[in-house]
Symmetry: C2
Subunit: 260 residues, 2 copies
């Protein structure tokens, strides 16, 4: 990533440690999907059996190591993906390196839908946080499957709608919340995400570093760290290592998050 020096660009999220590896091979591509079971595809997209029959012919499974790029801003967009295992980040960057992570994705999420027909290149970067398994579909074939199956089309539009709603929340957070409120909001969303998957909300394990959280919350890693410390002092959370967080007072956490 080229770093261009401007007059006095705030350092903020400039990459402080070496960037991720981004070699020729971006992940191992297995043969047409033998590992992608109906259950997995169902996790992917909530598809019914018919949809699966339509899609199973065209999908591949990919396994990516941590800290690999699935694609970058500007790459040609030839595929759509659904995550089955692991977590990754979607981000946008300014020419001088400042980065904004728009979303953390996990099992069940689509990647690469934020493009209509004329847009042939990715507008953001997808990077793995952990080892990640994805199902990959050629864009065209996926679009055709979508037009043949009204339920699939609805599901995709519904996913897009939820992304727009989430983007609005994120904008409210970035534009109007204080540092502590942002950290609290972040933990709250992580907890709700756990619950949506049927997992307990409370002892949650973060797959991302303070720096990545900072790039998501529009803060610096130091401020994020101070946010965690503050919440700990207030008795709202407990930290067992940097990545294990127990939420001891959810009601108060909601208040501290801006009450929403």
């Amino acid at each position: 990533m080229t770093v261009v020096a401007f007059e006095s660009p705030p350092r903020h999220s400039t990459v402080r440690s070496a960037g991720p590896v981004h070699g020729q091979v971006r992940g191992a591509v297995s043969d047409p999907c033998t590992t992608c079971t109906v259950r997995q595809l169902s996790i992917c997209a909530g598809l019914d059996h018919d949809d699966w029959n339509r899609l199973k012919q065209i999908n591949h499974t990919m396994v990516l190591e941590p800290h690999r790029l699935l694609f970058q801003e500007g790459d040609p967009a030839e595929h759509v993906y659904t995550v089955t295992t692991g977590q990754l980040s979607l981000s946008l960057s300014l020419p001088d390196g400042r980065r904004q992570i728009t979303e953390f994705l996990g099992p069940g999420d689509f990647i690469g839908l934020g493009l209509d027909g004329d847009m042939t290149h990715h507008i953001l970067t997808a990077e793995t946080l952990t080892e990640v398994h994805v199902c990959r579909f050629p864009r065209g074939a996926f679009a055709r499957a979508m037009e043949q199956s009204a339920p699939l089309g609805r599901r995709v539009l519904s996913f897009a709608s939820r992304r727009i709603a989430a983007a609005g929340e994120q904008q409210l957070m970035l534009g109007r919340k204080t540092a502590v409120e942002r950290v609290a909001s972040f933990l709250l969303r992580a907890a709700r995400r756990n619950e949506d998957r049927g997992a307990p909300a409370s002892p949650l394990t973060l797959a991302m570093t303070r720096n990545e959280i900072a790039d998501h919350l529009g803060l610096t890693l130091e401020t994020v760290s101070r946010g965690f410390s503050r919440l700990r002092q207030l008795g709202v959370i407990r930290l067992d290592g940097a990545d294990r967080v127990t939420l001891s007072d959810l009601g108060r956490l909601v208040e501290l998050a801006g009450g929403d």
Copy 2:
């Protein structure tokens, strides 16, 4: 809008002047569309003639005065709209009144699509800046029309995609740009929007107040004003009154916007 006092919520975007009127009648609803011509609907959604035939039966025209709410967060969402004339804002608020305007809309934009089937209530507030004309469609009928017409479906998904892309840009701006960069970005987007409509980019007329711009950029109105002044001092823009802006050096404006 109820204002709840918390410990020490930063004032930021708290409404400083009286809120907008929000009476029983939110706009005059005319008879099934006589004023909505094919051309207008085409502006609305880029629809072809068949789509128009499908939709013309179910749409109404509404005319709204400036500073009226089309709907609010929490209102039941029964309709979808397209704007034919005027401008309005979409916003989200925290319980204590802090507000984030996620988008300014104008002719050709959809309103109310950010909801899937299960979501029956609006998650944001739509407020007119100027007099606004919209075409209104019952949600269900619009959804049915969408499933019958693949082009319409594609167009809606494409619109959703562009919104997601725009939301990403906005998040990058809110999370990572300085005050001056935000103001510059805002002007640049307004200019590009003009160009997209075939209008000249340069002498642009702002329909929104400094306070509304501030709520869009995640700043205070004072900081926005200082941003305009700074850009004027730098010779990048010229101001004829607060709402008429001439962009005298577009290249430099792009640099000042973060170079993107």
